[in-house]
Symmetry: D3
Subunit: 283 residues, 6 copies
Amino acid sequence: MDISNSDRAKVLVQALPYIQKYAGKTIVVKYGGNAMVNNDLKDAVMSDIVLMQLVGINVVLVHGGGPEISGMLKKIGKESRFVDGLRVTDGETIEVVQMVLAGKVNKDLVQLLESYGGRSVGLCGLDGGMLKAEKLSDDLGYVGEITKVNTEIISNATSNGYIPIIATVAGGENGEVFNVNADIAAARIAAEMGAEKIILMTDIRGLLRDKDDEDTIIPVVNVSDVPKLQNQGIITGGMIPKIDCCVEAVRRGVGRAHIIDGRIPHSILIEMFSDEGIGTMLY
Amino acid sequence: MDISNSDRAKVLVQALPYIQKYAGKTIVVKYGGNAMVNNDLKDAVMSDIVLMQLVGINVVLVHGGGPEISGMLKKIGKESRFVDGLRVTDGETIEVVQMVLAGKVNKDLVQLLESYGGRSVGLCGLDGGMLKAEKLSDDLGYVGEITKVNTEIISNATSNGYIPIIATVAGGENGEVFNVNADIAAARIAAEMGAEKIILMTDIRGLLRDKDDEDTIIPVVNVSDVPKLQNQGIITGGMIPKIDCCVEAVRRGVGRAHIIDGRIPHSILIEMFSDEGIGTMLY
Amino acid sequence: MDISNSDRAKVLVQALPYIQKYAGKTIVVKYGGNAMVNNDLKDAVMSDIVLMQLVGINVVLVHGGGPEISGMLKKIGKESRFVDGLRVTDGETIEVVQMVLAGKVNKDLVQLLESYGGRSVGLCGLDGGMLKAEKLSDDLGYVGEITKVNTEIISNATSNGYIPIIATVAGGENGEVFNVNADIAAARIAAEMGAEKIILMTDIRGLLRDKDDEDTIIPVVNVSDVPKLQNQGIITGGMIPKIDCCVEAVRRGVGRAHIIDGRIPHSILIEMFSDEGIGTMLY
Amino acid sequence: MDISNSDRAKVLVQALPYIQKYAGKTIVVKYGGNAMVNNDLKDAVMSDIVLMQLVGINVVLVHGGGPEISGMLKKIGKESRFVDGLRVTDGETIEVVQMVLAGKVNKDLVQLLESYGGRSVGLCGLDGGMLKAEKLSDDLGYVGEITKVNTEIISNATSNGYIPIIATVAGGENGEVFNVNADIAAARIAAEMGAEKIILMTDIRGLLRDKDDEDTIIPVVNVSDVPKLQNQGIITGGMIPKIDCCVEAVRRGVGRAHIIDGRIPHSILIEMFSDEGIGTMLY
Amino acid sequence: MDISNSDRAKVLVQALPYIQKYAGKTIVVKYGGNAMVNNDLKDAVMSDIVLMQLVGINVVLVHGGGPEISGMLKKIGKESRFVDGLRVTDGETIEVVQMVLAGKVNKDLVQLLESYGGRSVGLCGLDGGMLKAEKLSDDLGYVGEITKVNTEIISNATSNGYIPIIATVAGGENGEVFNVNADIAAARIAAEMGAEKIILMTDIRGLLRDKDDEDTIIPVVNVSDVPKLQNQGIITGGMIPKIDCCVEAVRRGVGRAHIIDGRIPHSILIEMFSDEGIGTMLY
Amino acid sequence: MDISNSDRAKVLVQALPYIQKYAGKTIVVKYGGNAMVNNDLKDAVMSDIVLMQLVGINVVLVHGGGPEISGMLKKIGKESRFVDGLRVTDGETIEVVQMVLAGKVNKDLVQLLESYGGRSVGLCGLDGGMLKAEKLSDDLGYVGEITKVNTEIISNATSNGYIPIIATVAGGENGEVFNVNADIAAARIAAEMGAEKIILMTDIRGLLRDKDDEDTIIPVVNVSDVPKLQNQGIITGGMIPKIDCCVEAVRRGVGRAHIIDGRIPHSILIEMFSDEGIGTMLY
């Protein structure tokens, strides 16, 4: 990239209206996919997050960690079993899930963000009683459905100048721990905090009219059109839970929900600081 | 225990001068040993901690987790190796250490304390750049010596009404993670926060003049007498690091350091709320 | 009382749920009867009050002082005359009432509470225009009925960390001073402050079904059952104004009103910190 | 007084520089003598005080009450006995002193000031442990010498917008109450609060060179000249303790001390809001 | 003026109820006419304003400056032209208007007020986007009608202890500047700030029943009687816009609007601090 | 400028370390020269300023206005006369200077900055008694030398979220107004506010070793080398006062002083947000 200092200044100035628009607002980023695996992409996400905080945005980072969980389970000789895309979670598994998400993935992200000058704190749904859940189905074991969200500890972090990074395990009524869907958790947290937008980082361009042709991306979707798009077979497969999460967020009051392609470096900033944005936006 | 309501009231009233003495002060509890394994003892510690917070004391809980780490390492087929009582920590081991301490032990304690009505938050040395360390010795791998302590994130937690629970892994200059001694970490944190006292929970009565006779407990030790006691062979074996930690804390300005017997239920409260105290006190 | 340190700790821990329940709440104690005369009982009340403040309860102490008033009147050679249990109060008498209540009884209590480490301030209904009253009946002279309650000066005291102790004389529209019923004043102050409960200290066990048999105590009364109990002759004599005061408090929004036996040491703590409580509770 | 509205406005405007000079400062007024007995003078003092508060001055009113005490003692058939101008104070007497000062004189002033729209609170040296004293001499009984002054409760009152009115009884180490000199108490309180000035209201013009000729008033005295004036016999009799009190205040850091003639209506305002002032000023 | 100190004190005390009435309230003064030209009158106004601030009133000073504008236009050889009493304002004229009002008249007043010890800040309708306007009529050029009022910058000034002085030019949507009527601007600002009263300084006694006889002044007018008074020919000529401004203020919620005679020294204080007031009051 | 969204994001991210470095710091910009005349340059400066505020920098804008003053003087038929580069300023001239600087140039900048979304307030040295001056020389009339700087009103503006824009006229002891050098005023304000840096916008590249060759720019100068550079004839002519101003600022504690070329668009941002910076830096 060979850009003169003069052009650099112009680029900064052109970001002005976007910065003004989001200053003081809360943005929840659901972090996942390739952007959490590839080191260059990770670096890009971290710098995006720190920049957002510096220009006055309250960023909340919610993450999952499926591959790391599977890796660890394999290490202890336990096979991962899935039903309808959900991990069957026995007592030994939930221990690993909690350990890997809240102890490894979460705290590694904290350390990485701190190395970029972003003061951050790693939380999970157990801290301050943030996420409460109950058993989703007897077949799935410790897979939970969120019943209560208390974001006080998250707000304390942002108002003290820290970026909260959140691992999505939740507490049960009787001291159990539940594995909960990270997308849904992010949507619920965004709604509870009155977030301006939620951004889901995925490994696809966005919602495609023809799933084999990236040029058929649908940039904007009104949530009321979602049933029709499902009937038309445009929302299918792995896209269903992503869209569901966006609908959940918008229905609960979040201004906008974005499905963006985490494989593109700085896709968050591109979404935030350009008119055309990137990926698919639901409102 | 068959105590009349009238006697109960008297007991409460007799705790008054101790409560007045510690209100608004910071007490660091280094939690470990049997008190972290036995469920009844765990329950007793949790209620002690919550009570202390309610009567206006800022409690900070620092914990280790050796047995859980060894258990997990064994599960993945890795043997624990120790040199001079320190765990040799290769790259795979430090990952497990971090995961178990910050993800399992720490967050389990958070959930347990919350179940007692104590609002708490689980932190590790990586959060907010709390603990910085460098390699202690090439032979030991990722075993670190603390070089910097920043307790801002701990103070934020207490002033927001949360009990901070701290897992003692530390960050390195180049993004590494180090396993650091939890006793020393507790001593450093206590000193940095200007704590009134630090309480080390152990599995012994205290410092014994004759290690086989619990009746020979030495209740009070001036830190300047420590070298003499070492020469006399009274401070030996596993007691050496405990005493070192106490000396470190007192030398850095903590008022008093206590070695108490965690096997006795409510030993913390007994220490805090009686004249005679319990265990050995260094000043 | 021979209780081991271990049992003492257990007692403290068992008080935990009660402390959690009342932390941050306001409790008004109407102090009177034997508990204000007997020195041991006085000491017990003072320590109860200080303990309650330390565990985060806003305690407000309202007192009368009939015996001291009568004593002083006698000293100046003036006989006390009562109509329907109310002291006939001429100009000279009201001066003595004010002097004894606000200058002697009140400030003595302040000094006693301070000696227990409780920072306190002695107020009367004239301070900050707290209590306004008008003449109750021409026959009674300066006996007043409360017309206005302004608790700002009380709230200032509690929020500055002082325990307010209140003598119940009230100001009139034209600069007169009125003697007002301390029970009613306490009920009105409790209501105005949104108190959690009001506790009336008396010299009886509580409301008795058979007034000669303390075993027939009625532990709980719904205020809507009061008329029936009056018709049945269970609420009679000196109990009538006590019950009226409780009804007044509950009707105006105070959660619960308690009639307790001040002759039992630490009866306040027993009421606050046990499940069964003590005396009779109206709600 | 027949003054046009136009001249009234001019008078207000001419007070401007004085108001600017004292805004935000603390002024302690020692109230006593005729100004506390005569109703017109009392009214004038009250309005002066309220006006001072309104223009941003923190006024603290300290009072004695000798005549009322003597009156009450007489009523109970007890003769007042004085040694060197100090009242011999046995146990019965100190009770009356406390009662009259803190319960009668003090609270009457509160009510009077409230009637002028000045929010006020009546305190004595026992409240918040404000004044501590020890026995002055065995011959005098409960006459005390001030050993400690804690003005926190006074500052709380002024910062909450109340005018503190203070009766000068003090607490002893063992629960006794002492009668302390009100002038000295005012001087000590003024010093402790960093007051700009202390004003002593008396029944004389000020310090007179010839005590029989009011025209010989000495308007300004440097405290270092006091010994000389004593030697010259100019400071004698009742003037000695007044001057001592002023010297005490100035020596402890109060800017200026004034002895003014309380028999002149609004003498406080005249002192505060004119160049020439009134009475004698020590600096 | 030969008034004794004693009478001065009485005058101050008699101002007490008025000061109490207005403490903490906002008063908008529209400054203009002779009181802005004559030096003695200017001095009187400044001292009135500073005094009002000192006794706790939030004063906001709004001014015009017709004569100075005309003077400057004449200097640059430009004739002032008026249509229906409104200055026809071309591009060159509005530049002069802005310069003279915001740069000369405004800042001169700031300096004068500062010389009286009143901390003040000179603002115009452009600062902080305070006044927004649109073109009133094509014939009049840059004469604007106020469309939006934002008083945040004024409130910041008063809460920081400064007296805001305001020049009434307003900003347009496209970067133009408009000359707006200062009376109306004052009325709108007063309404927006929830002012207690607005005072218009004029060169007449008030509203006169017979415009040639100052003794026929109408002291009080209910705004609902204004149409009748217009029909009767009592409100005519230059009085029409003054009355309109008062009606505007009262209709928008300002308690009272006063038309006072600025030629009388200290007319503001006379209005504020006497029962009979001065001039005509609309409510 | 044809830059992809991806490259734009990279540019933003590369500004991160600079933003982190200056967040919370104060930067004083002395605005002048071509950058104040050319409309495109003006727009660029405004957007630079707003951007700096948004990323957490406290920007203070100080301006002169020589050309506008000369223009206005010419309009009223008054010739500008200079002695040693200083405008001879008689009574009529200083009126014009004040009017043009504080009323025209200043408020126009306020309006322009507001149109970019930057909340701003226009102040001059008279507001809040910010700048005090005395006559520099009898020959120059109302040309002043700064004697006192009070930046409280500037700090209030920044802490309330406004960008202060400052016209450099100053008040005299006797109500006169003085024209003071804007560069020096900026340096004094920067020093008083503990600014991190001061940036002087000029119409030259910076300090040139050979004044005819822009490639000989000296990027960094230690203030201790200034005398030598003067002796060598490198600092000459119009550069002397610029360098003097920088030396003044650095000597009084400002970290760095920059002379930058205001003819280059966004030169402020280039200076702030690149390693190489622009122009000449003194430290």
